[in-house]
Amino acid sequence: MKPMPFDHTPTDMPTDNRPMNMGKSVNDNTSRLDGPAKVTGAAKYGRDMYLPAGLFVGFIRCPFGAAKLTASEPEAAKAVPGVKDVVLNGDEGRYHGHTVGYIVAESKHALRRARLALAAKWELQPKVNIGIDGGAKDPPPPTDATKAALEQADHVLEAVYSTPVQTHSSLETHGVVVDHKGDSAIVYASTQGTFSVRDGMADALKLPNSKFEVRCEYVGGGFGSKFGPGKEGTTAANVAAQYQRPVSLFVDRNEEHLDTGNRPSSKSMVRLGFKNDGTIIGGQIHTWGGVGVGGRGGGVRFPSERYAFGETQRSHEDVGFNAGAPRAMRAPGHPQGAFAEELAIDEIATIAGIDPLELRLKLDGSEDRREMYRLGAELIGWKDRRKTGSQTGTIRRGFGMGSCSWGAGRSPADAEVIINRDGSVIVRTGTQDIGSGMRTIAGVLVADRLGVPLANIDVQIGSSNYPEGPASGGSTTSPNTCPAIVDAADDARAQLLKTVADRTGANPDQLKIVNGEVRNSEQKIGDWTDACSKMPADTLVGRGRKQQNQPHPGEGHSHGAQFVDLEVDTETGVVRVNKAVAIQACGRVVSRKTAESQIIGGVIQGISFALFERQILDRTTGACVNANLEQYKILGPADMPHIQPVLWDKGQTGVRSLGEPPVIPGAAMVACAVFNAIGAPVRHLPITPDKVLAALDLTKKGGGT
């Protein structure tokens, strides 16, 4: 691609090494483009696609943690009116939700009745493992270096921290609708990766990629759990190919808690030696991650490398148990790690008699983050923080803080910008908008690069027929797609200006478009509508591409810091959060509103993780007893603190994703604040009243710290 004359950074380097140019910060305050569709109910999600003559598929699942299917009545199930097939392809259940077959029916009611009529009988296996403790091995013995660090220390912190399994709980469950027409198909997927679905469906559909389209115009949440077709996609595709009828397979809410991934549980054991001035000499950190059946990815990001921990002996063990396997969930490994790390730092600070903010200013080598800490402390009112354990009233106020850091990954991305003769513009990218505002960002960027109003721009996303874009994970969507979109817009603009140059004899290098006006040097020679109407062809197509290995300007770490002000009712153990401040590096902000929303959303998930959420397995049978939104507790409106987001753009180049970093410090800061309020740490999430009361009991007995 020939380098184009941009307004800003010169671009005379070869394409492959060229950092993608982002232009100046757009920092637009436009409202989300799909707002009207969402607030009127016009937005159609995968789950909303009810097609004529469609079939419904539902899984048959093991109801306990470890059980064997000993009897069932498939004929009785098939005899239910409206049932087409009952397929059983296994009899061993190794976790609650483990699939052993499926039912095909003409209606959801028939499907549910068939499940009951199936009368599946399960025999419990003698042993069931409901968590890390069931299978964890001991940590490795301390090395000599560890022993030395502990010996040199003035104090040693020995503690165990833990976090439970957290489920993504997307409001739209996992599933697809497959409209199989024989020689072609359309798949309506609820996904974070339109192309990841396409790439996994060909075999099941018995069609090559070129013969089917995956559509994902709107998706009701994913948080890391919706990549690839999943068993929902492949099963639906198989059934659709078999019957050549549309098939809808969307799991029920209880299934969503059992078998669609989760944030793995964690346990962190620390033995850290530190000096009187708070310097951490080193020690041992061993972590365990609970990875369910056949799962991986239980890693715990501790230490985070944001704070100087000296020399630490580090080891980790993934522990399997009888539950659904994890899937990446918003900043995998980080919230669990941050919780343990930040609370450990607060405990160290308290023992050493140092303000935890001061200790972090000392331990954190990043001047960027230290500036954030100072700002956050000011905004939250850190000066009102009382010394940990010094309060005696019934309602005690606590302050806490935490930090985060996240690097955005690289992926390839393609985009097209099409200028039509009537002056309208289409931007196309196959990527999806899972609520991050990608659709809006795309429109705003193109409007900015072309110098035309946003109202002229039609953003088309969420189809595998469009140019390939990244999946929404690892906070990669915006940083990787935006450069491709910008390039496509610039290419389209250049082509348009070339047609103007050809027509008028002007020098193309001196043409530009500003606010809908075509200018030669600074002289207006026409307007956008005119230029478009005189194009030689009806459309022109600009293309942009970002290669896998091209760095994008959003690289480098997105730092953040969060602060919280809460109160603990020491008679009931109930925690109420008053206010949270969330500072987040966000590079060149394209869309302010959506950026703030991402940050606020991350804070809410963090606080919810701190106080309410946990998957509970019955210790006798391994069944999940809270596979619903009643007893799996998610923060609701009446639990809300005031949340103040702060967009930090100092020294930031390029667009950054905000999907993940804001979710990292929430639970950590809440745990620190509760410790501050009551004088004893609650080291195990969620921080429920029983644990607070137990911790308070320790302070009365002179225990705790």
Binding site: P63, I395, G636, D690
Partner: protein, 341 residues
């Protein structure tokens, strides 16, 4: 849900008749439907007919909540069986005459549920125990041979139960009515009224149900006595939609700052709403300004508690809820005072 017929009686009389109709093997009354529909969806119940009494009132114009003056007796408050929780919470008359009742439902469940959940439905709803609500667990209540909470996950279960079943009765309204000398009016059986305390029974008398209504008996309305100095307090993990960990309903008769007589009832700690006569007795004669004295009386609420492996925290929470309800009933807002210090 299975297939069922839906009968729409226009009077309570019709409803009673339909419950005895020989065409139906298992007719079930449905008012607001929150609990019935949940049972149907979970496969816990397979009626062949729903007797739909949603919005049925004693007569077409009956007010949800009304005050009936008596000539020679104290006025009675009457709540229609199908008065919704929202109607009860909104009643200004109740707020003055028996605040404990409105308070008990004002924050219960969610706005959506309060718009359909009914008074009688709230009293007669089945427990929230997650073993009961899971069709896969054949627990005692469903004819099985054990209570899974005993060795299982019992953090939300009873601290006052000798078994064999360890549920907590989930009704918010029940403890409130218990301190208002309420009577549940019924038809279709052998009696006209049942004292509120006699509506519920513990597992020692049977586990298949939690109430004493006879088959075919239908609640028409609830009558209660005014209790102007009364209050309800519940403690929850989450402030949005959550079931209470413990509840306390208190009604006081006061002479200045002195408590002459108290009625105290606990909720969410035992298989039935649980009166606390020991606390009531200890409160009689106490001065509400005597913080320590009142607290000491309220601490008796946990006397005799036999917590399970995961719910000992409820033993600590109950006296706190009772104390706060006493102070609230007496017109003192404790939480506000503490926040200021």
């Amino acid at each position: 849900m299975n297939l069922f017929a839906i009968a729409q009686p226009r009077t309570f009389s019709d409803a009673v008749t339909l419950l005895k109709d020989r065409r139906f093997t298992l007719p079930v009354l449905k008012a607001g439907g929150m609990d019935v529909v949940d049972h149907l969806k979970e496969g816990l119940s397979a009626p062949d007919a729903l007797i739909n009494i949603k919005r049925l009132r004693r007569d077409g114009n009956a007010q949800a909540v009304s005050m009936i003056d008596g000539k020679d007796r104290e006025p009675q408050i009457e709540i229609e069986a199908t008065a919704t929780m929202a109607e009860i919470a909104a009643s200004r008359m109740l707020r003055e005459q028996a605040p404990v009742v409105g308070q008990s439902v004002a924050d219960a469940a969610t706005p959506q549920v309060r718009n359909v959940g009914t008074a009688a439905g709230n009293l007669l709803q089945r427990p929230r125990c997650w073993y009961y609500r899971n069709q896969q667990f054949n627990c005692l209540k469903k004819g099985g041979d054990r209570c899974y909470a005993v060795e299982g996950e019992n953090r939300y279960h009873a601290i006052f139960s000798d078994g064999p079943c360890h549920i907590v009765h989930p009704s918010n309204l029940a403890p409130a009515l218990m301190v208002c000398d309420a009577k549940v009016h019924v038809m279709g059986g052998t009696r006209d009224t049942i004292k509120i305390a006699d509506v519920f029974h513990g597992p020692e008398k049977g586990v298949a149900s939690e109430h004493t209504l006879e088959a075919g008996e239908v609640v028409t309305h609830i009558a209660l006595s005014p209790r102007p100095k009364s209050a309800f307090v519940s403690i929850k993990e989450k402030q949005s939609f959550d079931w209470p960990l413990v509840m306390a309903a208190v009604a006081l008769e006061m002479d200045g700052t002195k408590i002459v007589r108290a009625e105290v009832c606990a909720g969410a700690v035992s298989p039935t709403p649980m009166l606390l006569p020991n606390v009531a007795e200890a409160l009689a004669g106490a001065d509400v300004r005597n913080d320590l004295g009142v607290r000491k009386a309220c601490d008796l609420a946990s006397e005799g508690a036999r917590p399970m492996s995961e719910n000992a925290y409820k033993v600590k929470l109950l006296p706190v809820a009772v104390f706060r309800a006493v102070m609230k009933a007496a017109g003192l807002d404790v939480e506000q005072k503490e926040r200021a210090s």
